[in-house]
């Protein structure tokens, strides 16, 4: 157990899985120098060109490389530098990777992890700050993972690498910079299992990615007002562990869902709609959503700060319903 940044924990997870299984390899832009975010630090020195494949700026071919290699027995980790860049790789990810097993009557197993970096950080503006998890959640055949801290990131990534289905693994950029106690050895955090980050009895806050820390801070402050908030981190968005969320809401009778992506048609809509349906008889107040406003992401920090949901937005939403 050592305190590590999420970035270091991620690099460690990849290293340990590559050491464990020769079929695992990494391909992406600038992975040779450790990756633009440092999540591949040390890998090229240890595994060389064969298993750390530094590619051209060709995300569509890069994703296809993953599909083809997986279809014949390898276990690719495909790195799409920034989530907005997924737009140039969508066909291979959505029409090929996600559908191939089904279209082929079940024959191929496609153990592919597509990692990417999402979210607002240091004024990267409209084409480098997006959170598009909802798109991939809408695609049958894909699993979608979005960790909020170093411990979960390492354990979930190892599970994703060992999983036999395609997994879209989304790193929030600011979460990458946070640190936590992380075991030095390999371990798994199961896919599809939500985590109750904090227990509470008055309101359930379902928080995703970077919103988890904001929610925990909000929960501390609510404690002061005598409001006991339960904070749930789904960790995996598809398949989504609704049972854990529903059990919590049936107990607290109130819920707020928070994410960094825009609200309209975000994953929060799915969670809120399902809670409102399946916990209908338990709810004492409407399910509230905290999310970004419906606009492209601005460059100016003063606007970026207005755009980004925070503990304050979560507090406001909770106070509306308790």
């Amino acid at each position: 157990m050592t305190v590590k940044t999420t970035t270091a924990a991620v690099a460690e997870a990849i290293d340990q899985e590559m050491a464990r299984d020769d079929r695992v390899f990494v391909a992406g832009e600038d992975v040779r120098v450790g990756g633009p975010f440092g999540t591949d630090a040390g890998l090229h020195a240890k595994y060389g060109d064969r298993r750390v494949v530094n590619t051209a700026i060709s995300e569509l071919a890069l994703a296809g490389l993953g599909v083809g290699a997986a279809a014949v027995g390898l276990r690719p980790i495909i790195e799409i530098m920034i989530m907005d860049f997924m737009c140039v790789a969508m066909d291979q990810i959505v029409n090929q990777m996600a559908k191939m097993k089904y279209m082929l009557g079940g024959k191929p197993t496609l153990p592919i992890v597509v990692t990417t970096h999402a979210g607002i950080d240091s004024s990267s503006a409209a084409q480098h700050s997006g959170s598009l998890e909802a798109w991939f959640c809408h695609v049958p055949g894909l699993k979608v993972v979005m960790p909020s801290n170093a411990y979960d990131a390492k354990g979930l990534l190892i599970s994703a690498i060992r999983d036999d289905s395609p997994v879209i693994f989304i790193h929030n950029k600011r979460c990458l910079q946070t640190s936590a106690d992380v075991p030095d050895e390999a371990y798994t955090v199961p896919l599809g299992v939500a985590d109750v980050k904090r227990e509470g009895s008055d309101v359930t806050i379902v928080a995703i990615g970077r919103m988890v820390d904001e929610a925990l801070e909000a929960a501390d402050e609510l404690q002061g007002d005598g409001v006991s908030a339960e904070v749930i981190d789904p960790r995996t968005l598809s398949p989504l562990d609704m049972e854990t969320i529903l059990d919590s809401v049936r107990k607290t009778t109130r819920a707020v869902v928070a994410h960094e992506a825009v609200r309209f048609c975000g994953i929060g809509a799915e969670i809120a709609a399902t809670i409102s349906d399946e916990a209908f008889d338990y709810l004492d107040a409407p399910v509230k959503r905290v999310a970004a406003p419906f606009t492209p992401i601005p460059f100016a920090p003063v606007l970026e700060n207005l755009y980004l949901p925070t503990r304050e937005s979560i507090l406001a939403a909770v106070r509306e319903i308790v």
Partner: protein
């Protein structure tokens, strides 16, 4: 290049089997006995057969929406193919893919594809894996002339060249993409010219001459196996029928153009060659066609009589 007589005969037989398969597939579509749309390979048989005859059973191919010929050339069983077209549980894809997604991984046929150009990045990945696993296998990637205008084609060829992936990119230049002539959508007449963008060999062959195709592929495959990387092979060929089925009625092509190409039917040419060489006589050649026709009729009967998928199949095989 000298080939054993049985191989020369098999090459004719496979072309004939593809022709007989697709002629019937067209009929079945017109009769609404099968579902979805079929893109016929008729006229292009020399390409698929010429290529696959240069591959080992454990080599790979990626295909297109026009993939029946590729699969038969790679060893596909017409019974399981028709079963797929009939959307039966006995089909290659258990009835869940249909003509546009037909595949047989066990034969190294990674799949037809409904997205033009999408096979190239997948072929890159399959070939990358062969190099990674050092298993000496080669991948042949089929695509049309129109597909070379998709970004996927460009990205895949550049990356394959850089990685020296053991892949042969086979362009079936049939002069049209759907109902648009190549001259209106492709800025070069010869697709092989595009090899210059990747520093790889670009070769043009007469796609109606199966030996010409075969010899070029044998060389490209040898090069790939030696670890010297990809080749772009352009086969000049022609779509005897419409884009979908036999006559969709959208575009009338110049009858002289159609006639000129039909006069160079790859099957007629090869059949005549074999008879000229004394490898076959008329009777022997006719027997091949009769065998193929009987095989296809039997396969259709098998397919049509096969069971539909079960309701549970709807939610099966989404994840591993």
């Amino acid at each position: 290049m000298d080939l054993p007589e049985e191989q020369m005969i098999r090459m004719l037989e496979t072309m004939v089997r593809i022709r007989e398969f697709d002629e019937r597939a067209a009929l079945l579509m017109e009769q609404a006995r099968i579902h979805g749309s079929v893109h016929l390979y008729c006229g292009e048989e020399a390409v698929g057969v010429g290529v696959c005859e240069a591959l080992n059973p454990d080599d790979y191919i990626t295909s297109t929406h026009r993939g029946h010929g590729h699969l038969i050339a790679k060893g596909g069983d017409p019974r399981l193919m028709y079963a797929e077209l009939f959307a039966k549980s006995t089909g290659y894809n258990r009835g869940k893919g249909g003509s546009m997604h037909i595949a047989a991984l066990e034969l190294g046929m990674i799949g037809a594809n409904g997205i033009v150009g999408a096979g190239a990045p997948i072929a890159l990945g399959v070939a990358f894996a062969s190099a990674y696993q050092d298993n000496g296998r080669v991948t042949a990637c089929f695509f049309g002339d129109g597909a070379t205008n998709e970004g996927a084609f460009h990205e895949a060829l550049n990356m394959a060249a850089i990685l020296k992936a053991p892949v042969v990119f086979v362009c079936e230049n049939n002069l049209y993409g759907e109902w648009t002539p190549a001259s209106q959508q492709t800025s070069v007449r010869d697709i092989a010219d595009r090899s210059a963008s990747y520093g790889i060999p670009g070769v043009i062959v007469d796609g109606m001459d199966i030996m010409a195709v075969h010899e070029a592929v044998v060389e490209a495959v040898a090069r790939a196996r030696r670890g010297e990387g990809p080749t772009l092979l352009e086969c000049k060929t022609y779509r005897f029928y419409d884009h979908v089925g036999r006559d969709f009625g959208i575009l009338k092509r110049d009858p002289d153009e159609v006639a000129a190409w039909r006069a160079r039917d790859p099957i007629t040419l090869w059949r005549a060659e074999l008879i000229a060489q004394g490898v076959l006589d008329e009777a022997g050649a006719d027997a091949i066609t009769e065998r193929a026709q009987a095989e296809m009729e039997d396969a259709i009967a098998y397919a049509e009589g096969s069971p539909d998928p079960e309701p549970e199949d709807l939610m099966r095989d989404i994840y591993s």
